[in-house]
């Protein structure tokens, strides 16, 4: 499942699992709508990872705190630390690639 975060519970969401992926989305955003089903599909398909989304049109303080410049932005966290981020609507294949970067960061360099 995808957890819907708010300003109040955002920090708690980041601590809830070793690997966390956050989708920062906004109102009236076509690319966000495009990404959403692929994000949901990945969440259904990949236990052990926590998938979170937060509407930064409503929770703009989070958008400011994390310097979100555009939506959708995906941030990938391990043990609460940001590993990397990606921007824009994307299909499942690219999303899988970004998740792989988070999971296997320690092994991607010789």
């Amino acid at each position: 499942m995808v957890y819907e975060a708010t300003t109040a519970n955002y920090d708690e969401q980041l601590k809830a699992a070793e690997f966390v992926v956050v989708d920062y989305y906004g109102d009236h955003c076509g690319a966000c709508v495009y990404l959403a089903p692929f994000f949901q599909e990945a969440a259904n398909d990949m236990p052990f990872i926590r998938f979170v989304k937060i509407n930064i049109s409503q929770h703009w303080e989070i958008g400011q705190r994390y310097s979100i410049r555009g939506v959708p932005t995906l941030k990938f966290f391990r043990n609460g630390q940001e590993v990397h981020q990606a921007m824009g609507g994307m299909e499942r294949e690219r999303l899988n690639g970004e998740i792989a970067r988070m999971l296997y960061k320690d092994y991607l360099e010789v």
């Binding site: 949901q40 259904n44 398909d45 400011q64 296997y104 991607l108 360099e109």
Partner: protein, 303 residues
């Protein structure tokens, strides 16, 4: 002087593919939505031997967690190597650029909820307790959205034809001013967001500030043509975006988002210029004209 549309393509006479007329929810879509619901409410079960589609939590030699999802293609060699393994079992594989040794700690398998009345109740839709009620609800919820999507797709086809087949009489001064304002706005935005506007569209030699701005300005011409067409479509229908409308919209926007804008450091007392109004008018004419084209598109839809 303003650029004008000499001849607007007669989009209502466009010959469109018959499949664009279809919009009703299909049985296939209902089944897919139920299958997705089943996956949303899937049960996770610990299993004793990994197969494709399972999810594995492993540990490497340094005690770090390694997650593997055989069959999803995130790390194919490692995913293949873990098939058939059991909790507590070790194996070696290639992961990224490294040879690693992993120990399986836990294997989970997703079991989608069967498509039945129980699943429908889990969806928590008011008044929907069985599959027949779900079908009726799904059609009622989604038919209007699908109708709108179908109308918008036809409207997009109208617009493509209008862009390609209409004739314009360009006023160079208006063109230069419009492209200059828009180009400068986007140039400044690129710089503010850490993107380099000096990279040329062709070649490898970096552009000077002046050349970079010119490149950005010249790039705007395609959008200027669209603006002239959209303005024409809207004004033919009796709509003109005025300075009064702009001032009112800006006042309402600031009132609704004051706290957010102040926190972002925006100067809310800044007077809006004629160029601000010009750029806002692009969006206003676009919204109006697309709305008009979408309403015209509805006459093509099946009953």
């Amino acid at each position: 002087m303003a650029s004008t549309v000499v001849k607007l393509y007669d989009y209502l006479s466009a010959d469109l593919p018959p499949e664009l007329r279809k919009w009703h929810v299909t049985e296939e879509e209902i089944q897919e939505s139920l299958a997705l619901l089943g996956r949303d409410h899937a049960a996770l079960r610990a299993v004793e031997q990994a197969r494709e589609g399972d999810s594995l939590r492993c540990r490497d030699g340094q005690g770090r967690t390694v997650l593997l999802y055989p069959g999803r293609g995130l790390a194919k060699e490692a995913e293949d190597a873990c098939l058939g393994k059991r909790p507590g079992e070790g194996f070696s594989c290639r992961l990224g650029e490294r040879d690693v040794s992993l120990i399986v700690e836990e294997i989970l398998r997703l079991e989608p909820h069967p498509v039945d009345g129980g699943l429908v109740k889990l969806a928590g839709i008011e008044g929907v307790e069985d599959l027949a009620a779900y079908r009726a609800w799904y059609v009622k919820e989604n038919d209007p959205k699908k109708r709108l999507e179908a109308a918008r797709e036809i409207a997009r086809r109208f617009w493509e034809n209008i862009r390609e087949r209409s004739e314009l009489a360009m006023d160079q001064a208006e063109r230069d001013h419009w492209c200059g304002v828009r180009g400068k706005m986007l140039y400044d935005s690129m710089v503010e967001n850490g993107r380099d506007p000096h990279i040329p569209d062709e070649g490898t030699e970096l552009l000077s500030d002046e050349e970079a701005l010119k490149q950005m300005v010249d790039y705007q011409e395609r959008f200027y043509r669209d603006y002239v067409l959209l303005r024409h479509i809207a004004q033919q229908d009796g709509y003109t975006y005025t300075r009064e409308l702009f001032d009112q919209e800006m006042a309402e926007y600031i009132a609704a988002h004051r706290e957010q804008l102040e926190a972002a450091g925006q100067d809310l007392n800044r007077a809006f210029t004629d160029d601000d109004f010009l750029m806002k008018s692009e969006g206003a004419y676009m919204n109006y004209a697309y709305g008009l084209l979408t309403r015209a598109a509805e006459q093509y839809l099946e009953d």
